[in-house]
Subunit: 110 residues, 2 copies
């Protein structure tokens, strides 16, 4: 994950990496009081095993395609597709093609 | 705003409306425990006057272009650009072209 985070009001470029994707890594875009936003890079055939986070999340496919398994169902997200999941919902990702994905997490305050 | 909201785990299509945009309206995609997500439609020349919400937000341009004024600065968002703003940060939107915009709001619990 990158160390330099975006500030409020800063323009963050999420246009597709395209041919450069294979050289990219997953980055944390920012983590602030209420939200954490990251851009994950998953190369074709790679998986993120089932896991969960405390808060609700949205997962948006920016390029490529990914399979999401959650709530006993599996769906494929293509560019421009978004899904949200309840907090503590286990979910697994599998990249069908080289993909980058925007993940937004609602942070829970204790 | 549409009355039928998406459920967790459902695929939500955010691909550009394109030529159909002028016939579209802003819709609430879902509002759940931690997050509220909507897709706003702003036709060229239309504005959303300065306002603020309690929680942090992200604003992502899906198509067209919009000018965002916040924190004393004005930026233009083009497709694939995202910005986040702190809770209670006043912001105004102005559509430079017909645009649709994804807005994610972190809900504050009292």
């Amino acid at each position: 994950m990158a160390l330099k985070h975006a500030d409020p009001g800063q323009v963050i470029d999420l246009t597709p990496y395209g041919a450069a994707l294979a050289q990219k890594q997953s980055i944390a875009l920012f983590k602030s009081e209420d939200l954490e936003v990251m851009r994950l890079v998953l190369l074709a055939g790679s998986a993120m095993p089932s896991h969960d986070v405390a808060g609700e999340i949205t997962i948006q496919c920016l390029e490529g395609s990914i399979e999401i398994s959650a709530d006993g169902a599996t769906h494929v997200l293509y560019p421009g597709h978004l899904m949200y999941l309840a907090g503590r919902a286990p979910h697994a990702l599998f990249a069908l093609e080289d993909a980058s994905v925007l993940v937004t997490v609602a942070l829970k305050r204790s």
